[in-house]
């Protein structure tokens, strides 16, 4: 394995950074308002129907579509989730001939891998 990906001096940090993370109140907005406004509620209502079909993806899963779309890099939708999870676990363990997938699979634990496999193999 070669040297570390991005520890090679490319870290892009702010000049000065206060460590306070953006705070979301219980409505999930950064505005700090205490109650939802009527327009907010309308948005929520409309969204709950508009996005019912698009469940949030598990961590990492939404990145896969950048590469997995055919050619030598297989499409994942419609494949058996168990097989995809097994392949990723084998990459993680170094038991499958390396591509970039060994390096990527090591960024996830087994539960994350199973969640990703279930999500990316679902046909939407």
């Amino acid at each position: 394995m070669g040297s570390k990906a991005c520890g090679e001096g490319i870290l892009h940090k702010p000049l000065s950074y206060s460590h306070s993370l953006m705070k979301y109140n219980k409505e999930g907005r950064g505005s700090g308002r205490e109650y939802l406004s009527l327009p907010d509620l309308l948005l929520i209502l409309l969204l709950s129907t508009a996005t019912a079909a698009t469940a949030a993806s598990p961590p990492g899963a939404s990145s896969c579509a950048g590469c997995h779309g055919g050619g030598a890099i297989p499409t994942l939708a419609g494949q058996p989730a168990e097989a995809v999870a097994a392949a990723m676990l084998a990459y993680k363990a170094g038991e499958r001939s390396p591509t970039v997938m060994d390096r990527i699979a090591r960024g996830f634990d087994e539960a994350e891998i199973r969640a990703i496999a279930a999500w990316v193999t679902a046909v939407r």
Binding site: M1, S62, C67
Partner: protein, 411 residues
């Protein structure tokens, strides 16, 4: 109690107010913006994409165009696919953003109101950072760091150069778009010279001492281009201090070089509209929350792609595409009144050292201390010891990635 009463009132009023669907505006139709617009639209939202360019010209693989290995037409992508899907296109530049009023102004004066704004304006080149290097100088010493006319200019200059000429590629300090891009370019220009103009020489002048995939590049250069490609790091006098475009002279801390063809990649900053929107800090780049990609400076504005300060995650098309999908999910969560889930993101960047010689760097990132940081134990480069078949396979993966990511972004 108050919230419940409001909710009940809303439920009753909802059918009459169906047009009150949230308004999403996306600025920039590149890898980040196009992907974000499609993701938000697929979730059922009304999206307007603001992009002045008639067609998008992709940078990945543009180094192969410069080296005569690829046709420029393979780099062109239209936004008509997005329009056909139902995304509204505003084919002009955004000229102002009023974060308080949640409003974008377009070049013709039209105002677009938004509930949430996603900005993916990419980079602008800093023509104030290197004495002698401005927009006019770039017509003689192309940067070719935004694909298009500049890419073809550099290619024509190489084609017109007599065998035996000196080509210089000048590389800036971090941060800049596509950390390994200058070294891929140097490799493919060296390939062109080796096969077409073998008495020529290539000098890479670098404003830093370490760079992405360095060991792999240096190993490949020694094997493929010995005596042809010379790399000069910062400590060896690689940093440019001045250029004289008319005379073809590049001045470094240690001396002068007179180039037949000079490719000067200058320092960069976030696309200009980011500054106008008040989302850049003193560095010229945009600080964001790494969970929601919301600006740390202006609420309601999300930023993705090259323009942002993303910590360990590099400025790549792959990263812009991955950030766009995470950002879209965060925007949806916020509109629903939920806190966005903590994401992980992946990046993979392939580089070509020759047409059949590819290498890669990959990383997995997660929010920590307010930035995107490397997930420990993951990521890294292709192995240093690898058979030619693996380098050939990675060159093929690069092509497959480009086909997939452009289809994902542009349909």
């Amino acid at each position: 109690m108050k919230r419940r009463a409001l909710l009940a009132a809303t439920l009753l009023a909802a059918p009459a107010l169906a047009q009150a669907s949230p308004k999403l505006v996306v600025i920039g139709g590149g890898f980040g913006g196009a992907t974000a617009a499609r993701a938000l639209h697929r979730a059922g939202l009304a999206v307007t994409l603001v992009e002045p360019a008639a067609e998008y010209i992709a940078c990945p693989f543009s180094n192969a165009v410069i080296a005569g290995l690829r046709d420029m037409d393979s780099q062109r992508f239209g936004l008509d696919g997005l329009r056909r899907e139902g995304i509204a296109l505003a084919r002009q530049a955004a000229t102002a953003v009023d974060a308080a009023a949640r409003r974008v102004t377009l070049a013709d004066g039209t105002a677009l109101a938004y509930d949430r704004l996603v900005m993916a304006p990419g980079i602008d080149l800093r023509f104030d950072a290197l004495p002698g290097y401005d927009a006019a100088a770039a017509e003689t010493m192309p940067h070719a760091w935004k694909a298009g006319a500049q890419t073809l200019l550099l290619r024509r200059q190489l084609e017109a150069m007599e065998d035996g000429g000196l080509v210089v590629v000048a590389v800036p300090a971090n941060p800049y778009r596509c950390p390994p891009g200058p070294y891929e370019r140097a490799s493919l220009i060296a390939h062109y010279l080796k096969t077409r103009k073998p008495r020529s020489k290539l000098l890479v002048l670098d404003a830093k001492d370490v760079f992405s995939k360095q060991k792999l590049f240096e190993q490949g250069w020694a094997a493929l281009y010995p005596g042809l490609l010379e790399y000069v790091p910062l400590s060896g006098g690689g940093k440019l201090t001045e250029v004289d475009a008319k005379a073809g002279v590049l001045v470094t801390e240690f001396g002068e070089h007179r180039a037949a063809v000079a490719n000067v990649i200058p320092p960069q900053r976030a696309g200009r509209i980011a500054e106008a929107a008040g989302v850049t800090d003193r560095s010229g780049w945009c600080p964001v929350d790494p969970v929601s990609f919301e600006s740390r400076l202006q609420p309601g504005i999300h930023l993705i792609g090259d323009a942002i300060i993303a910590g360990a995650m590099p400025k790549s098309a792959f990263a812009a595409n991955a950030q766009a999908r995470v950002c879209a999910e965060a925007v949806l969560a916020l509109l629903r009144g939920e806190a966005p889930a903590t994401p992980k993101l992946i990046n993979t960047c392939y580089s070509l050292l020759a047409p059949d010689y590819g290498i890669s760097v990959a990383g997995v990132y997660q929010p920590a201390d307010g930035l995107l940081t490397d997930v420990p134990g993951a990521g890294g480069t292709s192995p240093l010891e690898a058979p030619a078949s693996q380098r050939r396979a990675e060159a093929g993966y690069a092509e497959d990635w480009f086909r997939t990511v452009t289809a994902d972004a542009f349909g």
